[in-house]
């Protein structure tokens, strides 16, 4: 959203009607919600003074994700991520953070990859594993936050 001024972005604004008939109009694999979260992911960035952090995935196997949370009064008041990976990985990361934003930790702990997939309106079968990443990172960041509290002097 912040980059709508950029030159190359203008290309997206063109009428998307394809010049040759494409019954599937646009992309077969991903639905419009996924595409939107991929092209304009929410909560991208880092939190310098994060209360919880997680790094998951292995880039040599295809994807990696970093996730930061800021917690106040048991609520996730800020959440940011960075992701190396396929469109599925980016979109699910975006959606996972969107769902978690503002949640009480007790509720956030209940979030599953199914919630992410459902919120996205489904993702292709061969991309299901991506949906795990956002949630795994979220849970790991929450655990990290909890551990830091325990360790606090």
């Amino acid at each position: 959203m912040a980059r709508e001024d950029e030159d190359w972005r203008r290309l997206y604004e063109q009428d998307r009607e394809p010049d040759i008939e494409d019954s599937q109009a646009g992309v077969i694999f991903y639905n419009d919600t996924v595409i939107e979260h991929f092209t304009n992911p929410c909560n991208v960035g880092e939190i310098d003074d994060a209360d919880g952090f997680a790094l998951i995935g292995d880039p040599s196997c295809g994807d990696q994700m970093k996730l930061w949370i800021k917690v106040e009064a048991g609520h996730i008041i800020d959440i940011k991520f960075k992701s190396f990976g396929c469109p599925g990985a980016i979109a699910t990361s975006s959606m996972a953070t969107t769902l978690a934003m503002g949640m009480h930790l007790d509720d956030a702990r209940q979030l599953t990859d199914d919630d992410v997939v459902r919120a996205l309106g489904g993702i292709p079968a061969n991309k299901q594993h991506c949906s795990l990443m956002g949630i795994s990172a979220l849970q790991a960041a929450i655990r990290d936050y909890e551990q830091r509290i325990v360790q606090r002097p």
């Binding site: 190359w8 009428d15 009607e17 040599s60 990696q64 970093k66 396929c86 990985a89 980016i90």
Partner: protein, 386 residues
């Protein structure tokens, strides 16, 4: 520009049909439906067309018509070459040499022969993706029966020293096969039997139709057919001939040869412009096999820190067609075996996108794609955790 127009930079995956091929095919779709094996005039028309196409292909490659065996495509021709020669020569030896960067239709076939009792040497490539001829010569053993090295690589465009490797093979009396699918129509090939015993080509990578390819087989090359049936194609490939596709193949091949010099100069200039623009606009990129002799149309670019499918989807949303590694691996996350053979890490290989230019490619398209990529890469790098 109110409508998304397709910019097709995926000519190594497949090409649109050229008008000449279309014209050659239509009569056989519309009325000339004969089976070339039939006795009557309807069949003879079909047979005439197939034999005329065979003469055209033979002339292009400087061989005799009887040495051109039509298949359904490149994959079948490669399988026929490898499996056929292995079966024919298995009593003479069990060692086969190929390279680590072959198309899956050669690579997986070599692996399958490896499981069937053959001993396979996969020649490495240097950092530019080129097989060292000396490595090929050194790999030869007394029981080596077949060497198969592709003419041009489909992912990087790197041209392999097939003349030298083929020469070494011939000197030792070893059959040499080259998969020329990506070289045909892009670089001059001359009289292929001067260095090879078997050559694979396919129509649809050179503005011909799907459904026709050929294995050129030098007279006297031992070969067992892959399939059995009727006596078609000199006994090497049974099945009712796909007359329309074969006719389209010949027409496209003629055009490809006629246009080769002018088109390859034009396309190489576009490719060079494209790469110069990218290098100028985007930091941390690497152009694979840039230091190797390459076919003029192929540019394989690694964008550090981002994953290729994300680039492809952004491009696709803009109507731009490119590919990651070879087209065949869509749906599998495994990084390209070709780029790994060049020495790239798995992470690097995952950031590789192949742009393959073609006859319809224009300067404007190149400039549009380069500009789009600059934006896409910037955006994805902002998201990237690497």
């Amino acid at each position: 520009m109110n409508k998304r127009t397709t910019i097709y930079l995926d000519h190594n995956a497949t090409t649109p049909l050229c008008p000449e091929a279309r014209e050659a095919m239509l009569p056989f779709i519309d009325g000339l439906y004969g089976n070339p094996s039939s006795y009557h005039h309807v069949g003879r028309q079909a047979r005439s067309a197939v034999e005329a196409a065979r003469r055209t292909i033979a002339e292009i490659f400087g061989c005799s018509p009887a040495e051109a065996v039509f298949t359904a495509g490149g994959t079948e021709a490669n399988n026929l070459a490898l499996r056929g020669a292995a079966a024919a020569l298995k009593d003479r030896g069990r060692h086969i040499i190929t390279s680590a960067i072959e198309h899956h239709s050669v690579l997986k076939t070599a692996e399958a022969l490896g499981r069937d009792g053959f001993d396979i040497t996969f020649l490495p490539v240097d950092a530019q993706g080129v097989v060292a001829p000396q490595a090929a010569a050194d790999a030869i053993r007394p029981d080596t029966i077949l060497i198969s090295v592709m003419h041009a690589n489909n992912e990087t465009g790197a041209v392999q020293p097939v003349e030298v490797i083929g020469g070494a093979a011939r000197q030792r009396g070893i059959a040499f096969h080259t998969d020329a699918v990506q070289a045909f129509g892009k670089i001059p090939q001359g009289a292929v039997f001067e260095y090879a015993d078997m050559v694979t080509v396919t129509a649809h990578k050179a503005y011909g139709p799907r459904g026709a390819g050929a294995l050129l087989v030098r007279r006297g090359t031992p070969l067992v057919p892959l399939m059995t049936g009727g006596h078609h194609e000199q006994g090497l490939r049974p099945g009712t001939e796909n007359v329309a596709a074969i006719g389209g193949f010949a027409a496209a091949a003629e055009q490809a040869v006629a246009k080769l010099a002018s088109e390859s100069a034009r396309i190489a200039a576009l490719r060079d412009r494209f790469e110069a623009l990218l290098l100028q606009a985007i930091s941390n990129i690497a152009i694979n096999s840039r230091g190797a002799p390459r076919v003029p149309n192929t540019s394989n670019v690694c964008f550090a820190g981002i994953e290729s499918e994300s680039v492809l989807l952004h491009l696709d949303l803009l109507g731009i067609c490119a590919s990651a590694g070879s087209a065949c691996t869509t749906g599998e996350p495994e990084p390209s075996h070709v780029l790994r053979a060049l020495g790239l890490s798995s992470v690097q290989a995952q950031g590789a996108v192949r742009f393959s230019l073609g006859r319809a490619t224009t300067v404007e398209q190149i400039d549009t794609v380069a500009a789009a990529l600059a934006g896409i890469v910037k955006k994805l790098r902002e998201v990237s955790s690497l």
